[in-house]
């Protein structure tokens, strides 16, 4: 690990730890309104000022960081589970199973999935509870983001399927489930890890795009994307309003630096 990777890892840990810790302080509530100070500029009390509803921007940014990072990681894990089962089945069983799944992967990769996300997210009724909108947004990301990792996993499993040690496991008397869980899966760990870390920044950016268009989490939940919406209001365009954009840029840069492949697959 290079020095820059170590620094990036420390920054990421600090960002995540800070955002999680902030959740334990009632004063840092993302929903609390300070009606006496709506639209306040940056000050010692409110380091990033307040929004037009009087909510502390800094507290909301910390909460948004928590939601965006943890939910992007959860969505990445969800996409990876789907990718493992589908890509794994294609690579392991081959034949018609492989052909069907490869066609599905090609289809998913050829669809403009940001538009698909927008359409799917826009179909939700306006009275959907905010927590549900948050869950649905990330579930959609997971449901649409499996195709790319599935292709890589399929290739990995195809390679493993013909490996000598897999044939020996069969000669030992191992059944299909045992071969998959004890011999194939552990050898896919580097591929799965790489795909996980590749998908997290992609999902963070996708959510930011959706949020900017008002199709991410419903109020009052803050995400990085929903905080970016403020930039659409020219009356609120102060330097501190760019803090969510800076947070996204710094985090994605750290992700690129901390992963051994330098984020080149993102």
């Amino acid at each position: 690990m290079t020095l820059s990777s170590k620094i990036a890892a420390v920054i990421l840990v600090l960002i995540l730890a800070g955002s999680i810790t902030a959740g334990f302080f009632p004063a840092m509530s993302y929903a609390r309104q300070h009606r006496e100070a709506t639209g306040a500029p940056a000050s010692l009390r409110f380091p990033l000022g307040t929004d037009d509803l009087g909510r502390d921007r800094f507290a909301r940014l910390l909460s948004a960081t928590r939601f965006s990072l943890l939910l992007a990681a959860a969505a990445s894990a969800g996409a990876l589970v789907l990718a493992f089962f589908l890509g794994g089945a294609a690579g392991y069983y081959g034949g018609w199973c492989d052909r069907c799944i490869v066609r599905a992967i090609d289809l998913m990769l050829s669809v403009p999935w940001l538009l698909l996300l927008l359409a799917a997210r826009a179909l939700l009724p306006l009275n959907t509870p905010p927590a549900l909108t948050l869950a649905v947004t990330y579930a959609l990301l997971a449901a649409l983001g499996w195709a790319s990792p599935a292709r890589v996993i399929r290739a990995g499993v195809q390679h493993l399927r013909s490996a000598e040690f897999i044939l020996r496991a069969r000669a030992e008397g191992c059944g299909e489930a045992r071969v998959l869980l004890r011999h194939v899966l552990p050898n896919l760990k580097p591929v799965l890890t790489a795909q996980f870390w590749t998908a997290v920044p992609v999902f963070i950016l996708s959510e930011a795009n959706l949020g900017f268009l008002g199709l991410s989490a419903g109020e009052p939940f803050p995400t990085w994307g929903s905080l970016l919406r403020e930039l659409q209001n020219p009356l609120l365009l102060r330097p501190e309003a760019f803090a969510p954009a800076a947070a996204i840029a710094i985090t994605l840069l750290c992700f690129r630096m901390v992963t051994p492949w330098g984020g080149s697959q993102v």
Binding site: A163, E164, F165, L167, R168, A169, R170, E172, G173, H183
Partner: protein
């Protein structure tokens, strides 16, 4: 005379190609070391995989019968065939390092091998006792090593240890010494010979090296283009080879100028 432990009459090949084995016939008696010799591409490894019905996993097909302990292995359901693989018929493959799971420690691989046929992991024999039988280090630290941390000879011994874990009636050794230096290869042959005596199992020893097969086996079969062309005791094959191909194999054995000719 007792019934043979295994009697096979099979033809086998790979998808889209002609048969690699054609009316291949082989019998193995209980407690016998049977040798199978042939040049590269003659179908030796196909025999090993076909007898265990593993050829499906390599895109191959097998026809015929393999009688083993009064059961036709070709007619058994997959579930019953799995119960035989490793437990009654074990296989030692020719690439020791590639045949071990690179992501699993040696101790875990031994336990995994046990769990393939036994639900209770705590009943697994002590791996170190098993290692003593195959001349592997007896230190517990050895169990924590990964395959990449072993020499080729050690990896081959680990494979043999795993193969004898269930005390199989038949051990198929597919060129177990081809990746080894001459001294280690001889040690592996001695080890297999000793294990046969200790455990009373039969061994099908497959190799391209006629000399090593003759020095080690009770009976030798010569395989050419998927068919057995001659079978006999090593002495008779060396002193009075009947088939021209056997004579060719014998004449191909390198002979130092200062030693008398062998055939």
């Amino acid at each position: 005379m007792s019934a043979p432990l295994l009697a096979a009459n099979i033809s086998a090949g790979y998808a889209g190609g002609p048969d690699v084995l054609r009316d291949f016939e082989l019998t193995i008696e209980p407690g016998e070391i049977a040798g199978l010799v042939g040049e590269s591409g003659s179908g030796k490894s196909t025999v090993a995989m076909a007898l265990l019905r593993l050829l499906d996993y390599r895109g191959g097909r097998v026809r015929g019968n393999v009688w083993f302990r009064d059961r036709d292995l070709m007619a058994l359901p997959q579930r019953e065939m799995r119960a035989i693989r490793g437990k009654e018929i074990a296989l030692v493959m020719q690439s020791p390092q590639a045949s071990l799971n690179p992501a699993m420690r040696i101790g875990a691989q031994i336990r995994e091998c046990w769990r393939a046929h036994n639900r209770r992991a705590d009943e697994c024999p002590d791996p170190l006792e098993l290692f003593a039988m195959v001349n592997l280090p007896g230190e517990p630290e050895f169990l924590n090593r990964y395959p990449r941390q072993l020499s080729v000879g050690q990896a081959q011994r680990v494979l043999i240890a795993m193969a004898i874990l269930h005390r199989p009636a038949l051990l198929i050794a597919d060129e177990p010494s081809s990746a080894l230096d001459a001294v280690t290869a001889q040690e592996v042959l001695n080890l297999l010979s000793r294990l046969r005596q200790q455990l009373g199992m039969s061994i099908l020893y497959i190799s391209h090296d006629l000399l090593s097969v003759a020095s080690f086996c009770d009976r030798v079969s010569i395989l050419r283009e998927g068919q057995i062309v001659e079978t006999g005791a090593p002495e008779s094959l060396f002193t009075a080879p009947k088939h021209p191909y056997t004579r060719r194999l014998l004449s191909a054995i390198p002979q130092p100028r200062f030693l008398p000719t062998m055939a």
